[in-house]
Symmetry: C2
Subunit: 662 residues, 2 copies
């Protein structure tokens, strides 16, 4: 099972467990809330191709109309809904999906074209602005929606029109004469086409994805031997001395991941979601082509070096990426301020989801716990913080520190609403991230990436095998495994990720020899047959960590297991300066406190952990001073709570992850 | 004497002294080198109004033609040359000035208009793009050139045509019907008009300056009740959805200091040179109008709060301002990285000159040594580093740390050549910064802002008084004053600035009572009559200082007196990483070493001052780590040299001011 969006069906989360509770809320609250938002904003009916008053609104990011992404909002909601319907049937959701699919069918042009904006607002202008408009991005999300639809409904009601649209795209784009040598400004369709290829086996779907990937950023593309976006821009009559008001610079094609061909990129640049979606497709292309093929040998080093650049030099402690708001993406190496008033911090929810997608692809190529560590980090922190406990409010931006300008808060919806349905679909197929597996007759290999109370049920040629994790993860590091087989013996190999953050760990009963490769403990069929029940224990304790010295952040973070902590004014009601001046003493003992409201979690109390506030009086009227950064004021207790829990318990939106240490 | 550009004539620098040597080089080398550059680039002959091939060059910063500033380059060179001719006549320079003035006369339109670009390249388009084009900026520099010309030549050969041009501007701009309610994108003419007003006494010159200052940024200006740049842009047919490629954002009028009226600005924003030139004019308007007038009461608090914001939150240790390259200006509060690879550092030479201009105006309003401290800091560091020891190479940008992308180096000229002639004219009238004074019959008040070997000679109604400083400043803090009077007794009050950096100081012989106001020691006529010779002593010793904690810069700087130090690879030939990884132990003793090559200066040696290099190995493949920032490698000596001396002694352009401390 190559894709988590398919493999997740074999997983059942234990009722009432950490992720089961979150998924229940998404299923019962978020899906309906988002359906409601689709309806009231006009998205729901948009595939009827009637004029909507908002189509006259001036674009917030000219030339991109505000309704530009509506097709994808529908596609992602259908995708998420189909995953969640697998848990429990829901009549209203089912009816909405069916109606949406009917509207999509009805919106298709005779030649297969399918897009709201270019059907209603600018007919005749299709494919004239691949750089800025999101036609192909939308197509990608419709493909992913259709694949999920097919998985649940087991019919082609949605896939059929989408395949017809893809036929048009296959005919339109490519390097043959009369084809357009272009590629989408926002990658997405590449990864969707690769997933589609698995289902259709149609080589043209693979080839189109590969063309989009390889042609992107080509400075001598097409018959004109020029950069496609230059050619296209000229054809639109754009003045080369001016640029759209939201562009960061002239020919800033790094924003679109198209400044140079991906094979030549040395550092991860530009829009972080675009980067992740593109790299996910590139990694998947490597996997499909095999790492030692010509394609694999070209692109695997690219994926690896861009990943390393990202993780080592351009990632936040939460797994979040993207410091720069202007282009929603990466800054220079080690430029990782915590919030707006310190220089920026974007860490878009979708980007964290993208990191998880990429890490998952990397694990398929190279089973190295490093990738799973980052995937787990994003899951519990940069991604999970993007949705409220009640499932009805979302964060687009996930800063590490609030400021008066940008409080720590969530919103019920966004004009550009990519993040909310992205969270929905991610939690929908979450089981696909927990483990990956392959089966062959009576053989099975299961790689356990994440620990959580869940069961994996695999059907082999003659047997059924069930692997159950019982655990209170992420609060407790003990995981009880039970393996149960129905039918003849199965040759099962189990590979358990040893978390990078675990200072110690053990398996009980302990195997005679620990067979560890790249951070995974390989448990043999033989040992498993003798030990159908065993425990992995990764003791969790609060720890204080620091960012890379070149980030110039004189701060420390509190973590426990995979969870990154923050402080909020809800627990420190006197706080007025977003904890910017708070001096943390990382040497005080950290006491853990289990809480049950508003959800179960462990708070961490640092008694007298705040040594006071930074004393900056030496610098009054001065540029520099001999004064040392002494602190003033009383010591106070600090209460750390999980970062994902922020903005759920009242307060005035004051929050900080990294506290200053001296 | 209100303006240093006039008052400097009373000062003579002691031959062979620190500033005398620099001014001799500027006079004998820089002036000629710059004249040569004016000739070979086409600037020299440009007022002949012939086509120059470079006029066809595509603009580097569209829509601003590269030759846009040529008028000002001529104006500033004439200005600087006239100041320096006062020291020694120079036949070639004199001839060039005369020829230039003839060409300027010949270039004037019958109605007074005077501008190279709009006469040759775009006739008929004058005053259609005040926002981007530098017509009025150029006019300002021509006014300043004409004032200097008149001061030296004592004729109106240059001032006459300029006054005719100003008449046209007075008629063109203003709030009357049929007048244009616009103002220049780059302030300069405001401060020039105020200086002109002093000479002409023509109220219209004052009023036009005041109009430009008050109208700037008015959101409801003119008969259209809109922002003038919006009106103007629309008239040019600009698309509101696009912007010139070098603009940082839509309607980024803070770049032009026009986002809101200056009276409403709370923080110092945008282009740092434009900010300083504007505030210099505003401060001067306050002085002219008197601080307690309506105008003074409106604008003095503005000047004070923007100055405070700049000095306390947006200035580098060198006095340099402007972290952001894109708009050559200010970043957010406390965002002060040292170099390109850390997020930026611009600190343009002209901006430092602008800070000096503003500080000098502030001192006229409020004699507070704080302003003189900053003025001295800029003079010896952010400004002086902009010119090489041989006077033939210049720095536009003055970063605190080099990087592979931006080495520490100077250039012989720039396409936009504002900085080189700005240094020339500043050193030309440097005497005007040393002291300010007022005389009235037989009374004189002299405020000594800077210490240097120089003599001030003042002619009173019946007497001549001569005040001489004998000192090795900035290397030695002892200053011997001698006061000599010819003629009847003069009622002289002397006010000596006590430098903010001086940890101790004394005057010998010591007055019975020390009368100190805002950092100035007031010496009475009575005491001075009894002590015509005395010494001020401000012992100089190496000291280690730090930036404000909120700058997040974990570094320390070495200073001595007013001099900021740096390390260069010339003294540490093994250095390859721009001292970025060097860990400095600020507790080691600092040894001073007097050197005479390539110029006299004091180097500071920190024996075993480098504790090794930052050990970042704990962060390999990690986002965060529990590892502490330990250092690895051997201790090594560090040799600090004055920052202004950088890039004068060979090496590979590796340099850093702030070294990391643990």
């Amino acid at each position: 099972m190559e894709y988590p969006q398919e493999s997740f069906v074999a997983t059942t989360f234990a009722p009432g467990s950490f992720w089961a509770r979150r998924r229940d809320i998404v299923r019962t609250q978020t899906l309906r809330h988002q359906l409601q938002m689709l309806r009231i904003t006009g998205r729901y009916d948009a595939f009827k191709l009637q004029w909507h008053p908002s189509y006259s609104d001036p674009p917030t990011m000219w030339p991109v109309p505000n309704h530009q992404f509506w097709d994808s909002d529908i596609g992602k909601w259908i995708e998420g809904a189909c995953y969640l319907l697998m848990d429990h049937f829901d009549e209203d959701i089912d009816a909405a999906i069916k109606e949406l699919v009917q509207m999509i069918q009805g919106a298709q042009h005779p030649d297969g074209y399918l897009n709201i904006h270019y059907s209603v607002v600018e007919p005749g202008k299709r494919f004239t602005n691949l750089r800025d408009m999101h036609e192909l991005y939308n197509a990608g999300h419709l493909i992913e929606g259709a694949l999920a639809h097919r998985l649940y409904y087991k019919n082609d009601d949605m896939l059929s029109p989408i395949l017809k649209y893809v036929d048009l795209l296959v005919a339109t784009f490519g390097d043959q004469d009369a084809q357009t040598p272009g590629y989408p400004g926002h990658p997405e369709i590449e990864l969707a086409l690769l997933r589609l290829y698995k289902v259709t086996g149609n080589e043209k779907h693979l080839k189109l994805a590969q063309f989009f990937i390889e042609e992107r950023g080509n400075p001598t593309g097409g018959t004109e031997r020029r950069h496609y976006y230059d050619v296209e821009s000229e054809a639109r009559g754009e003045n080369k001395h001016t640029l759209p008001v939201h562009f960061p610079a002239a020919r800033s094609y790094w924003y679109q991941q198209a400044h140079v061909p991906i094979a030549e990129q040395e550092t991860i640049e530009g829009h972080s979601v675009r980067a992740m979606y593109l790299l996910t497709a590139v990694a998947d292309l490597v996997r499909i082509s095999q790492p030692d093929s010509k394609v694999g040998a070209t692109f695997l080093p690219v994926v690896n070096r861009l990943w390393s650049n990202m993780v080592e030099k351009r990632s936040y402690v939460t797994g979040g990426i993207g410091a720069i708001k202007q282009w929603e993406g990466f800054g220079i190496d080690y430029f990782l301020p915590q919030g707006t008033d310190e220089g920026g911090c974007y860490a878009e929810t979708c980007a964290a989801i993208g990191v998880m997608m990429l890490a998952e692809r990397q694990l398929q190529i190279d089973l190295d716990s490093h990738y799973a560590d980052v995937m787990e980090l994003c899951l519990y922190n940069a991604m999970l913080t993007g949705v409220s406990l009640d499932g009805k409010a979302f964060a687009y931006v996930n800063q590490l520190a609030s400021s008066d300008k940008d409080l720590s808060q969530r919103h019920e919806w966004f004009e550009c609403a990519c993040c909310p349905p992205n969270v929905t679909r991610t939690l929908g197929y979450l089981g696909g991230y927990v483990w990956s597996y392959s089966t062959n007759e009576q053989k099975a290999v299961v790689n356990v990436h994440l620990y959580t109370a869940a069961t994996l049920r695999l059907h082999l040629s003659e047997s059924m095998i069930e692997i159950t994790q019982k655990t209170d993860w992420p609060w407790n590091g003990n995981v009880d495994f039970t393996i149960r087989t129905e039918g003849p013996l199965v040759d099962l190999q189990l590979r358990l990720r040893i978390p990078g953050w675990a200072e110690s760990w053990q398996v009980t009963p302990s195997p005679d020899q620990l067979d560890i490769h790249k951070g995974y403990l390989y448990l043999s069929a033989e040992w498993l047959q003798q030990n159908s029940q065993f425990q992995l224990s990764c003791p969790m304790q609060s720890r204080v960590v620091k960012p890379h010295p070149l980030t110039m952040q004189p701060v420390a973070y509190v973590m426990r297991g995979p969870i990154v902590y923050c402080v909020e004014d809800a627990d420190h009601p006197w706080e007025e300066r977003h904890f910017k001046m708070t001096v943390f003493d990382p040497k005080v003992p950290l006491r853990e406190e289990t809480r049950s409201q508003p959800d179960q979690y462990i708070a961490i109390i640092a008694e007298n952990g705040a040594k006071g506030e930074l004393d900056t009086s030496h610098w009054d009227r001065q540029i520099v001073s001999e004064g040392n950064n002494a602190h003033v004021g009383e010591s106070r207790d600090l209460c750390f709570v999980p970062y994902y829990l922020r903005a759920n318990r009242g307060g005035r939106g004051q929050m900080r992850v990294g506290l200053r240490v001296e």
